[in-house]
Symmetry: C2
Subunit: 123 residues, 2 copies
DNA sequence: CTGGATCCCCAGGGATACTG
DNA sequence: CAGTATCCCTGGGGATCCAG
């Protein structure tokens, strides 16, 4: 065996970090979510995601597509029509995120309290 | 009811984002992990986390402590001795992260392939 | 040993304008 | 409609030095 579980932990850390790098970025999740329920068009996304700019929407879409989390379908009509759909892999990712969501819901108050306590003690 | 499940999705998005903000940052997970197995000292962390600077270690520790994920214990000896331990909340977070880790392990190859394909097509 | 204080740099992201 | 191109600015994080 290796010394303690450090090696295993290191592996796990790296793996998690890779996921986080993938879905971090201010808009990734917000973009991915609407695409879960089926094809979504560019402008639909732009309207449904409050505060996103055209630029960031495009960049985020490109990255997600590159990682195989989104498929892009172009209909060569005029005016152009493009649809984005989440892949199976993305749906599995979303399921995996649920556990994080539930953790957050359970601990949101505790975190807020911890912060107040810390800030009060620090100030 | 609201239009479709947009409201629910929005809520979920926000919640997840709060967690991600908390554990994003280049070092958070790497710092949290060694503290899972019991008290760890500052220098131990510094040595076990490859590439971290003193500054970032300190900042990361402070943030984690502020959010109630880490407890800091100071022994007023000379030279000083400080121990960090993950809280129960942090351990639950770690469990929640496991699903992400397993997702990553399952899909790492698929992502790599998707990227190559995309880059080849783009180039 | 365990930090704090400073300076600096770069990538992520906002605003705006243009286009097939 | 669905993007591209450009400019700019902020803050996360690295390097270095100082201190109780």
């Amino acid at each position: 065996m290796s010394q303690r579980n450090t090696d295993v932990s290191h592996q796990a850390t790296c793996t998690v970090l890779q996921v986080l790098e993938r879905i971090s970025g201010k808009w990734s999740i917000g973009v991915l979510l609407p695409a879960m329920d089926g094809p979504v068009r560019f402008t639909e996304l732009e309207r449904s995601i409050a505060g996103i700019s055209r630029r960031m929407l495009t960049l985020t879409l490109r990255n997600l597509e590159r990682d195989g989390l989104l498929t892009r379908t172009v209909y060569p009509t005029v005016p152009p029509k493009v649809e984005y759909t989440a892949t199976e892999m993305a749906r599995e990712l979303y399921d995996a995120l649920q556990s994080l969501t539930s953790w957050a819901e359970r601990n949101l108050d505790a975190i807020a309290t911890a912060r107040e306590t810390y800030d009060a003690a620090t100030a």
